[in-house]
């Protein structure tokens, strides 16, 4: 005992010395944590403060007016809002169901040995930069789309003006052969968010406990009935959450939209084959060249609105995904 006292006390002083580090260590890490909060505050402050002039000038009413023309100090952001909502809506309409089906395939139907590699592949696809989707859209998809989809449909529908058909009518401001428009933007966005939705769907489907599947099988359910009533129904909150995250991505996407949507900023055309503009694309294309401070301020106000919408959407989506996948083994995609 006595022989150990000597080294022990040496160790003690050493410990005491380094224990002094505990508090500074805590403050150091806390400082960087605070920095993260500061980043959010900075973003919020910039878009709030930067848009002050525009808010004082028009309030939020300009969001629902047409006629974007910065040269005449005429700012109506409705085309941008409409373009954003319409293209993201189309994207969700296409990619939502398809993404869930891919998720079902990956978690239920795919041969077991292919599940891991295919899932990894889908995750890889989700990582491809959006500018590449836009580029592919321009060079490869638009020519195909114009020839085999846009022209036949607009020929068929003609100049219909009644509501649902007018969405598919021939555009007025640009020939349908130009290809760029809200519809194509929606499709490209759909292709882009598809891997995201598929990966999240897979994640929430694989954590459905096996006993739920067996419960249905044991009463004679077919495979699909099991998937529909046992698996999808169990994970529906998470699936909806995944779709909302996908929608959030589509709403905030700049490049893919900017490249294929066609930049019609003044008016809203009834046809989806007509060009339009999205909020993010508008900001990206005009802010670096904005001359007047009102112009810049208006663009920042649009950014603020976009920020608000995506935040709300993401909050709801996260809540849903978290709600279903917090069980053991469930891990929430950031």
């Amino acid at each position: 005992m006595a022989s150990q006292a000597e080294p022990l006390s040496g160790l003690k002083t050493f410990q005491r010395r380094i224990e002094h580090g505990d508090l500074p260590f805590r403050y150091l890490t806390m400082f960087f944590g605070l920095l993260v909060i500061l980043l959010v505050v900075a973003i919020g402050w910039v878009v709030w403060d930067g848009s002050a002039e525009a808010r004082a000038e028009f309030g939020f009413g300009f969001l629902f007016q047409e006629g974007w023309n910065p040269v005449n100090n005429n700012y109506g952001a409705w085309p941008a809002i409409y373009g954003t909502l319409a293209s993201s809506g189309i994207a969700l309409l296409i990619a939502g169901p398809l993404g869930v089906l891919i998720g079902v395939f990956l978690s239920e139907l795919c041969p077991f040995s292919l599940r891991m590699p295919l899932s990894f592949l889908v995750e890889l696809l989700a990582a491809i930069p959006s500018v590449i989707y836009g580029m592919w859209g321009i060079f490869v998809f638009i020519p195909f789309f114009v020839k085999y989809i846009a022209i036949p449909i607009t020929d068929l529908v003609g100049n219909a003006t009644t509501f649902p058909l007018s969405l598919l009518s021939a555009p007025q401001t640009a020939p349908v052969t130009s290809g760029r428009g809200i519809m194509i933007a929606g499709i490209i966005l759909a292709i882009m968010i598809l891997p995201t939705i598929a990966a999240i769907s897979r994640d929430v489907l694989v954590v459905v406990p096996n006993h739920q599947r067996e419960a249905l099988l044991a009463v004679g359910a077919t495979r699909w009935e099991m998937i529909w009533k046992g698996v999808i129904s169990y994970a529906r909150a998470g699936i909806v959450g995944g779709m909302m995250l996908g929608l959030g991505r589509a709403l905030g996407e700049t490049m893919a939209a900017l490249m294929v949507i066609g930049s019609l900023k003044k008016t809203v055309e009834s046809s989806l084959f007509a060009p339009g503009i999205s909020a993010a694309a508008l900001v990206a294309s005009e802010l670096p060249n904005a001359d007047s401070s009102l112009h810049a301020s208006t663009l920042i106000l649009i950014a603020l609105v976009l920020f608000g919408i995506t935040l709300l959407l993401n909050a709801a989506a996260r809540l849903l995904v978290w709600h279903v996948s917090r069980g053991p083994g469930g891990n929430v995609r950031a």
Partner: protein
């Protein structure tokens, strides 16, 4: 209680149930296991099993952990093949019909051979009534008929009195024992010919266990029942015949095997196999 133990899953209309004669399953088919060899991938989990299960009786499967009771049980209604890589060699006959015959869809088999699992597994998204009715709904029975059958099955599972006021509540809101009886109700609502139960009482308290045992004795009047249990008293109490499984450790990878099958009384009092004797007397297992 008296009411509950007198189940009358009576279907006189018989629109959706051409196969019933109104008094439970018409058939009194044997279940025959012929050279049944379950595999997990390339690993054969159990030596070939040959046995005939008598109709309208309780057959118990006992044996130490890992001896393949669940595996064999799940082979009977083709639940086994649901596990990735799992497959079956040999035959299971339901009457004359090979369960693994060509062109037979597993769901038709599972519909005729119901199953209750070790963990109570009510469907989370459905209500109590919805849980019981789920199989019937899939088969497209009329709602009025479904309502009757739900009530009859819940009575049959001795659960009616406890849940009749909250049929629309979630099935998850019940106690473990109630959940397990709900699962039994779900299985018997389909009026299967055979009912497979995999350690249905292992997660339950003695009272719930007792209730379920009572229920099984009642149910065997109309169903062929196969039950896996770790509880030898339970097997002795309720079963007519008993299968004893053991782990064969002579191979490199231990395999399960059926070592003895006979009348319960005889298996427990006068076992033919040395290993059974040791197991029952508590020396192994």
């Amino acid at each position: 209680m008296a009411d509950a133990t007198k189940p009358t899953p009576d279907v006189t209309g018989s629109t959706g149930a051409a196969r019933t004669n109104g008094r439970g399953p018409a058939e009194t088919n044997n279940v025959t296991l012929e050279d049944l060899k379950p595999y997990y991938g390339s690993f054969q989990a159990v030596h070939a099993v040959n046995a005939t299960i008598e109709p309208r009786s309780v057959t118990a499967m006992i044996g130490p952990s890992g001896c393949g009771k669940s595996t064999v049980l799940r082979c009977i209604n083709r639940m086994h093949e649901n596990i990735p890589g799992a497959r079956v060699e040999g035959r299971v006959l339901l009457g004359e019909q090979n369960v693994y015959g060509r062109g037979i869809a597993p769901q038709t088999i599972r519909r005729r051979i119901g199953m209750v699992f070790q963990q109570p597994n009510p469907l989370k998204m459905l209500s109590i009534a919805g849980n019981v009715a789920v199989g019937l709904r899939l088969e497209g029975h009329r709602e009025s008929e479904i309502k009757e059958k739900v009530e009859a099955s819940l009575k049959g599972a001795a659960l009616w009195d406890e849940v009749k006021d909250k049929l629309n509540d979630s099935g998850m809101a019940l106690s473990g024992g109630q959940q397990q009886r709900l699962c039994i109700a779900r299985a018997i609502a389909m009026e299967p010919e055979v009912l497979l139960l995999d350690e249905p009482c292992s997660a339950l308290d003695p009272i719930s266990t007792y209730k379920i045992e009572e229920l099984l004795v009642e149910l065997k009047k109309r169903y062929t029942i196969v039950i896996v249990t770790h509880n030898m008293q339970q097997a002795a109490r309720i079963s007519d015949r008993t299968m004893v499984f053991m782990v064969d450790i002579t191979d490199k990878k231990p395999k399960g095997m059926l070592v003895e099958y006979g009348e319960t009384a005889q298996v427990f009092t006068n076992p033919q196999d040395k290993r059974t004797q040791d197991y029952i007397s508590g020396e192994i297992g």
